[in-house]
Symmetry: C2
């Protein structure tokens, strides 16, 4: 890599922030200086990186003065408030929130799909929604070969999509269910143990949730296909980690399942797990703590003939769906000297 970087990490104590620290270390990201920021109420707490302890500092405008790149792993409101401060200090911001994703001047990037957009940044690069990242990694290689006409997706989303609080809430609900107690509802709208909740984020238009519309709006932007037809149904399931997606694709050009397997096997960031006879297909229990998107159950869409394919996808939404993807973006920023 070209040079060593002074890196600020906003949200360093959260689920995604903690995962980012692990991945920065695993991938040997060229960190010269690490500035760990978080909510001022968490100032003084400690986080670990490469065997050393770092003291968390309350995030404030001044904190960005000594950073080249600022990774934001916080909610939309905090990003909106602090990213402009980082920009004032000439930091390049890689933001995991929804705040800037659809802004015209902000590249929205999944490196396997549109790494070339990174160089167009004007200070902020946005990291997409987790379910969207996982989907576009899997479907873009098929689009490049056979042109997608229509995408129908139903998701099966893990509770850690709601952070550590989501994990704790599933645990609490499981024990409550086991002991006949009332589950405490803090993160989820309803009990999640032994249940499914077809409601993630708020309802925004035509009775679709924002989570569902993110998969439409963000996929179109990442894939540079503003008119791509997509309909999503997003469902929370009692799984700790890794989102799964059942996807039906309609293509302009015909494509056999064998061709799809071959295309995806050669595509970046994908592991094809598709051997029904050996009971091999992606499952969230085994795709967690991995950086790739796993694709299986590849078959013809028998409701469409030769121009349809059905796939089943699973991937760790905290890693590839958030932290890994953001760090891949940062790596390009460093390699190509875009800061």
């Amino acid at each position: 890599m070209a040079s060593e970087v002074r890196l600020a990490l906003v949200g360093s104590t959260g689920a995604v922030g903690q995962e980012m620290l692990k991945i920065l270390e695993e991938r040997d990201f060229p960190v010269k200086e690490l500035i760990c920021l978080a909510d001022p109420r968490e100032a003084g707490s400690k986080v670990r990186f490469k065997g050393e302890e770092y003291t968390v500092v309350g995030a404030s405008p001044e904190a960005f003065k000594k950073a080249d790149i600022a990774m934001f792993a916080v909610g939309t409101e905090v990003s909106k408030m602090l990213a402009p401060e980082a920009l004032k200090n000439n930091c390049v911001v890689i933001d995991n929130s929804y705040a800037f994703r659809l802004d015209k001047d902000v590249p929205l990037v999944v490196p396997e799909v549109n790494a070339g957009d990174i160089k167009l940044h004007r200070g902020i690069i946005a990291n997409p929604n987790c379910s969207t990242i996982i989907m576009v990694v899997a479907i873009n290689p098929i689009h490049q070969r056979a042109r997608l006409k229509r995408v129908i997706v139903s998701t099966y989303q893990a509770v850690s999509g709601a952070g550590k609080a989501g994990l704790d809430e599933l645990d609490q609900h499981i024990s409550a269910a086991m002991t006949g107690q009332e589950p405490k509802l803090e993160v989820f709208q309803h009990p999640i143990a032994f249940n499914l909740i077809p409601h993630i984020d708020e309802f925004v238009e035509e009775d679709y949730t924002r989570e569902e519309m993110k998969m439409v709006w963000e996929s179109r932007k990442i894939m540079h296909e503003p008119d791509l037809k997509i309909a999503a149904t997003a469902v929370r399931v009692p799984v700790y980690r890794s989102h799964s997606e059942s996807i039906n694709l309609e293509t302009e050009n015909p494509l056999t399942p064998d061709q799809v397997r071959s295309i995806l096997s050669q595509a970046p960031g994908i592991i094809v797990q598709d051997d029904p006879g050996a009971k091999l297909y992606p499952m969230p229990l085994y795709t967690s703590n991995k950086d790739q998107v796993f694709v299986g159950r590849i078959r013809r869409d028998i409701s469409l003939g030769e121009n349809g394919v059905v796939i089943w996808v699973a991937a760790d939404q905290i890693r590839k769906g958030a932290a890994t993807n953001a760090i891949q973006i940062a790596e390009v920023v460093v390699e190509e000297n875009l800061y």
Copy 2:
């Protein structure tokens, strides 16, 4: 009802058989005599019906001599072996297994959809697959109004689809996961606690499972639409009871979500639960032990324009998906003197 019936129940100790006894009692089915049959190894065990104890008799050809109607709640192999014996004794057979569902001479019936087929029986009436029943109750009223062109469905199926053994296995896997033990795999192919398994029943053609193809083959037969285009993805989820389905429908004629809500509200066997603002939509935790199919998240399929609708469906697959449906069939057989 016309008359009182001598009823044989094959599989009276199983999950579906036990549910049938409950429902026969709830609906005050006109039972004159009840003959409880099961695997000969279970002979002598006791089951309860209307406050009385019945001794289970080993199922054998002779057992049908004193019955008018025989309800079969057993596996395909036992049905194949014993249903012909029931026929020889002039019993009308209502069979819950896969054995006869696709036979030309056997009506496959969901009373809300094709009750008229019951009178065509030649001794056997088949009860459809659970996921299929739940789907056709929800989609047939839309088909009757706007003609379905294409159905895409992804399922979220409860462990009790695999009977009591499935329930026990989820419990065992949950405790194993909590205590760091190895889960015991008896019913499922993989651990089901905190996981999803995109594999129900065996793989049969083009890498589709039989569960997925049942939704194609059986829906077409029930709806009298041999060419209806359907593609299904069937997934096991860590939910005790009630299957859920995410369904995208393409219609020949345009239809608004309001029209769909109105059609389904008036359709038999359906409860529309669709008020996103009030966080109201079907969830398996709350549709269990009910006889209706619950439909919500009704919205335009934005990938299709005015000729597409997306719905989210949940229903108790042991009741409406099996036992209740079979007893509804039996009620028609009795009311119309078809035995």
